[in-house]
Structures are given as C-alpha cells and as structure tokens.
Amino acid sequence: MIEVEGLTKRFGKTLAVDDLTFSVEPGRITGFLGPNGAGKSTTMRAVLGLVKPTSGRTSVLGVQYRDLPEPVRRVGVLLETFDAHAGRSGRNHLRVLALAGGIPRSRVDEVLGLVDLRDAGRRRVKGYSLGMRQRLGLAAALLGDPEVLVLDEPANGLDPQGIRWLRDFLRSLAAEGRTILISSHVLSEVAQTVDDVVIIHRGKLIRHAAMADVEAMAAGSTIVRSPTAERLAQLLAEAQIDATSLADGGLTVAGPPERVGEIAAEHRIVLHELSVERASLEEVFLELTGDPGERGA
C-alpha cells in the first residue's frame, strides 16, 4: 500500500505538488495521471524518499521509504529519467543492483530474459535503443520480485507488443495482490491497464476514482437517423426525452439507445442509424484537467 497525505512540495517559488492526498490499494493497478508538469514525477520521488516534502507525509507498506528494510526487495521502481551508467553493460548494471539489494545473481539473468534483453545483456548501455533502455529499467524494477511497483511512464519507448506484454504482466502481478502505481500523461494509454485513476493537475488532486467511473463519464448522447425524424422527436418528447435536430436531419438524443430503439419499434418507425456518440477518454481527461492548451507542453 502507498499513502500520500497532504503532500506539498515547493522548488523555490514553484509549487510542484499542492496538498495532495491519495492512497494506492494492494491488488489493484492505479494510474497516476496528469499533463506534463502536473507533479506526477515529483510525487513519486517524494514517495520514494528522493525528494524531501515541504510538508505532508508519504509511506510505502506503512512506513517511510527510508525505513523499509530491504527496500529493493519490497519496492520495484522505474523512474522516467534513465538511471544506468552508459559505460556499464546492462547485465552489470543489474548485478550491481542485485548485490546492493541482497538479491541472488541468478535473478539477473531471469529478469533479463523476462524483458527480452538476454542477448543484449553484455552490451554497454550506451548502445541501447530507447525501448531497450526502458526494458532494462523494467528489469531493474522487477529484480527484487517486489510487492509494490512504482513505474513512471513505463510504456515510454515500448513498441505495441511491448506495451501489450507490459499490460498483461502488470495485470498478472496485480492479481497476485501486489500494489502497482503507474504514471502517464495519456489516459487512453493506461485505460486498458488500470483499475483506479488518480488525476492531478498543477500539483492538485482533480479526481481519484475507479477507471469504470471515468469511462462512464465518456458515455455521451445517442445519435439517431430516420426518414421520419420529426415524428420520432415528438414521440421522444412525449416520453420526456430531449432530442435536438442535427443539420443533416438526424437527431441527438439525451437518452439511452435502448429506450430510443424501443420507442421507434413500438411506433413502427424506420431507423437508418442508432448509435452512441462517445467522448474519447482523452476528451474526458482534458475536461477534467481543464487546460487543453497545456497538454504536451
């Protein structure tokens, strides 16, 4: 379990995180979302003891990170910034981490195989592609077979197969009861992976909800087209369902498609289209964070 309570972090005059409170439950994957510069990485680093909070507290498995015995075995971490010496081989990078964390050397080859880097393990990291560096970071995070995973933008640089592998792998880890926090600035990227979302903007909590609730927010109006649209609009109005005419002769209806279909069938009205107009997850995300102009900044 990860807990963040009233976390505030200032860098000089810049307020990076503003009184942020949330928790991440075991057995669930929590997406930590926000536009670039929202304070996600700073929050994660505060949880991991790399950044000292201005006020508030954070804990992992009930204690501050620095008080964790065997932290490498308890918490697996992938940070957004690359953290391996470019002149060291990938395998030696993991050997150093294993030695420091009291992890058997055999585990190094296991995780290299897991992220498909076994063949490149003896090459110096400076020759790795972005995707290989990301997979090396994931290998480092998984080295201690930890019960908590904190992953900052884990899908960066991965190809579609890699992203799918990561999604399935994280789901299997969550099913074993592990606590997983992953950050992203793209909601749709993690939508298929996460159970819960914590959305922040300008360091403040915007929403902490189940992913299903966020997806429900994306459900929009019903679109219906019929050669007798005016008659259908009348019938819908009688059923106290608002319908607005579209320029192309269709209707946009503030009601579920099932109900619209039932009314049309009851009155033998021919339909040419009956569909749901959904807002994209990105539109929901932008609406929640409230500042589309900052996205990608």
């Binding site: 700073t42 790399l50 950044v51 000292k52 620095r66 932290p71 918490v75 420091a100 480092a140």
Partner: protein, 247 residues
Amino acid sequence: MTRLFAAELLKLRTIRVTWGFVVAVLGLAGLFAAGNIGSPPDGGRLAPDYQFKLVLTACLPAILLALLLGILLFTNEFRHGTISRTLLATPRRPVLVGVKLLTGVAAGLGLALLAVATTAVVAVIWLSVIDVPLELGDAAGGAWRGLVAAALIGALGAAVGGFVHSQVGALVGTLVWLFVAEPIVWVLLGLVDLGGVADYLPGVTVLSFADTEGENLSYAGTAGMAVVWTAVAAALAIWRTRRRDIT
C-alpha cells in the same frame, strides 16, 4: 553495509575509467621507480633510506590518482544519473556517504598496492642486476606509508565528491585548490608570520605524504591531518547529500 560496499566495488570494476587509473598507476609507478634507480638521488643507491624513498616516491602517483578516483566515486553518480538507483537501494544518505568513504579507502589501497607491486618488480630485477642488496625493512616502511596515504586520500576524495556533487566542479576545484589557491594561502600566511599553519592545510597534507625529506609535519601528523580533513569533508558531504532533492 557489506553488501553495499561490495556493490560499490563492483561499480568500480565495471567501468572503463577505473581501468584507465590502473594503467596510469602501473605506468607512472614504473616510470618513477626506473627514474629513481637509473639516476639515483644524492647519496646513491646505497644511502640508508634510499629504498624507503624509492617505494614511497613511486606511490606518489597512486596517492594523487586515489584523490581523483575518490572524487569520481561520488560525482559519477550525479553525472550519469545513477544516484536515484543508488539511493533507492541505500535510502539513508549518511550510510551512503560512509560506504563511499570506505570504497575510497579500498580504491586508494588498490592503487597503492599496484604502485608498490610495480616498484617491487622493477627494483628487484634492476637492483639485482647491478648488485645492490635489497633492504626489505626500508622498502616495507615506504610501502606501508604509501598504502596508508593512498587509503586516506581516497576517502578524502570521496568525501569531497560527496560535498561538491558536480564532477567538473569537484575535479577542477580540487586541482585549483591544490596548485593555485593553497600556494597563495601559504604566501599570505607567511606574510603575517603564520607560515607554520600552512603545514595543516589540506593540500599540504596530501602532498606531505610523499615528502621524503621531512620538511613538513611528521608522517603521523600528516596522517592525522588527513583524517581531520576527511572528517570535515565527510560532514559536509552528509549535510549536502541529505539536503539534496534528486529530481
């Protein structure tokens, strides 16, 4: 602590710069030894303390390189961004500073051992060819002093790196202090009749380890000052490292 120390040693062994230091020590120690045997100082090769000075002088490059390698031990972490991963494994920062100091000691010892071994090989072969008897007691005395000096200076370098963090800043700052700033301080101290105080400055401490003429503090005094300066730098390293946000 043992695991962390072993991990630090593995870090050192798995980057090329360390092996560059090893090659430099082997070459320079061999060169110093050959120079001292080929053109011996006043008193000749049979002087009472000749072999003591031969070994200690050959350790001088190891002592200076131990200072630089010690600095790199810490500053490499910031230069290459590995400090995050290191602190995730060692979240208690004073412990990290302690482990780095210990690694500085080990690195200094290693470099000095190489220097002693190189000198031994050159001296044993060359001196036996020209029929100069080996004075093992003298040579061992020089080796012992060289080893202790390099170990202490390695730790001092690690502490300096832990305080400064910037690799360029630490390396350039140290060299400027040793060869520019401190000589100016000597002169200024001399002008106000405090020339004796200069013997206690950190740069003099480093260079005094190779002083075979007894012009500076005694060897024990020099070692004591090295411990004091290392303790001061270590305290500053702990203070700075604890305060720093790793972003």
